[in-house]
Symmetry: C2
Subunit: 434 residues, 2 copies
Amino acid sequence: MSAPRVRIVSTGSEILQGLYPDTNAQGLSRRLFDAGFRVVGHAAAPDDAKLIRSAVEAAALNADLVVMTGGLGPTEDDVNRDVIAALYGCGLRFDEEADRLMRVRFAARGIPMPERNRVQAMIPEPAVTLQNLWGTAPGFVLPKTGRLAALCALPGPPNEWRPMFEAALAPDAPVDGLFPQRPKLEVHTIHVALTPESTLNEVLSDLFAPVDGIDVTILASRGVIRLRIIGQDNPDGVRARRDEVLRRIGPEIVFGEGPADLSPAQALLDLFRERGLTLATAESCTGGWVAKSITDLPGSSAMLHAGWVTYANEAKIRDLRVPAELIAAHGAVSEPVARAMAEGARTVAGTNYAVAVTGIAGPDGGTAEKPVGTVWFACAGPEGTSTLCRLFRGDRDSIRQWATNQAIELTRRAVLGIPQTQYLGGANPRFLGA
Amino acid sequence: MSAPRVRIVSTGSEILQGLYPDTNAQGLSRRLFDAGFRVVGHAAAPDDAKLIRSAVEAAALNADLVVMTGGLGPTEDDVNRDVIAALYGCGLRFDEEADRLMRVRFAARGIPMPERNRVQAMIPEPAVTLQNLWGTAPGFVLPKTGRLAALCALPGPPNEWRPMFEAALAPDAPVDGLFPQRPKLEVHTIHVALTPESTLNEVLSDLFAPVDGIDVTILASRGVIRLRIIGQDNPDGVRARRDEVLRRIGPEIVFGEGPADLSPAQALLDLFRERGLTLATAESCTGGWVAKSITDLPGSSAMLHAGWVTYANEAKIRDLRVPAELIAAHGAVSEPVARAMAEGARTVAGTNYAVAVTGIAGPDGGTAEKPVGTVWFACAGPEGTSTLCRLFRGDRDSIRQWATNQAIELTRRAVLGIPQTQYLGGANPRFLGA
């Protein structure tokens, strides 16, 4: 079975003005891809009935399914309901349940529902409603009509459309019969840390050509690489391909497998939680990014006890007990200072582990000996302290992101006893980035 | 003169698979908007000649200018050159200068240019080349041809297309005559901190309707609101509208004016630099985000001397000298503890100012008295310590982002002597967020 073709239409003038990127199209594409659809086009249109209509019509004539977000609110800008009904040649009906849910929502906030919100309960006649338990605007799914594809309309806010779309995609959903039939995909993700994409490309190149309908794709982003193995009704083939990939790249660089969006910080939190361990952070050039990445995650307070941003040398000396002589002798960006920062943080915080980062993020501060992008890392733990030096390419933001991911990887390896220099290709790849 | 209509076409299978959001379309839209164009549609197509052709054709038949990114590389996936030449009915010519620049580039890296890169110097016959000094693939601009709009093709990487497009938009650029004529816009941005969008909407509602061709638009994002005033050949009108907006909202909540992308952290860094001041941060629920926001910026090391992430109470007591009794009596999320954190951080770090954040980011940890989203702030400085409590709505990420922006705004006000409770609407708006 081949994958049904989907087109996504996002609406909202702010997208066309470039006020933010169209993350709805991205999130929907990812979800649709995993669900066995093939997204063949994105389109975005401003809040203008004529422009929206032409975008939806073009999409609906050239796909098996159209998914739209936005334009279902209560204001005059929100024209999607009317545009869709006109295009599909149907009227609108009043959905009692949608109206009831909105009133419950307003009542919970202690305010009566404004009269104008009532229009949000209007749904195209032949559509099945997707009730919204996370906001006011319900969505809906229209069946294929003549030459026009099936259409799924969702509200704009991601915290609303995500669970609604998830429910709509469930095999037993009332709208399931309206969606085009699709193959069942198995997707297995291998998460790789701190490896140059070009090295992975060389090692895996012959696996990137689809065999037995199994695809391997690679996505690299500043120190984190996702290898996705995608099969169709062939779980054994996916497993075999996964084993082959792992055999070639080795287990050391893999920080996780399974869920598509696992972050290095989440993998580390899971590991620390499982073992009941605690961490302290001592950051210079990453300036709090390591601590932020960890505290982004619910439940991180059990793991991260303390963090220091020791930008100034005095702070390294005062707060982390780094000997002033060390800094004078080796400079703040050096192995001895990274080591002293990590060991000092561990002693002061009394945690099982402490990780330290000190480097030159740029754009200024580089020298011939220590160019911009030079970063020293150390992780102190019960078994001792391991250190590593890296030279990252790229701009300040890129160097800091790579360094943050390296600090987390260094800590993971310290806990698991994986050698700090064992990266793909054997040697320690000093030069990464951009 | 009305704004010429532009359609943006992004190409790349990874966009359609949802691997990342289409930030090229966003960046181009913003730049085009400021340059007097009106972007009426975005489209994205995978690396498939047929799908790209139909997307470009539809765009070129319904706009005055098409801007494309991606698909100009040396591999077989890179079909844009050929697709565009076929659609516009022209051949390709070899651009000697583009070839020379590529060879120089490879030579600088000490490697000969691979033969396959030569194809990147092929340009549609009637097009003017946009040379690429930041990567290999040149871009080009094709004049309007029959019913097909003028077309500007750019490479995918932002660090390449940005300066190339900037050069192409310059009034004296060789391609200027190929672009549609456009009105000259004045854009003035007012940056507002920690104000509910709904309050601004009420206060400014009658200004949102365009008068004398002057538009006022509002974009809110987690504690930061951008008010953009856009006029056409009418700088006096823009200035008058700007004065009227400021008169209504008051100067207190404005953290900056002018550049479109000014961040609260950048405005604070500018202020501290101008006055030669130093800062320390003491963060609990924001977990390093305040320090990260500041250290994101080049030159921040002169301002931010030290930061603490004191997630555990012991860290607050040990590192920031918060009396244990205070935490026992009032809880870690309280005015006295926020105050003690800020004053302790200032004393220990010896900085001019110190800002502290302690709150409940959720999803767990809330109580009836202190629900999730409750955050106490304090800023200690030479004039004393100011404090503020907020209740933010939303998820963990949203609460932490709002809190980060509030901490920065608290610090700005402490330095400038602006009352900490003077927000739009008079009273202290406790309930913000989402």
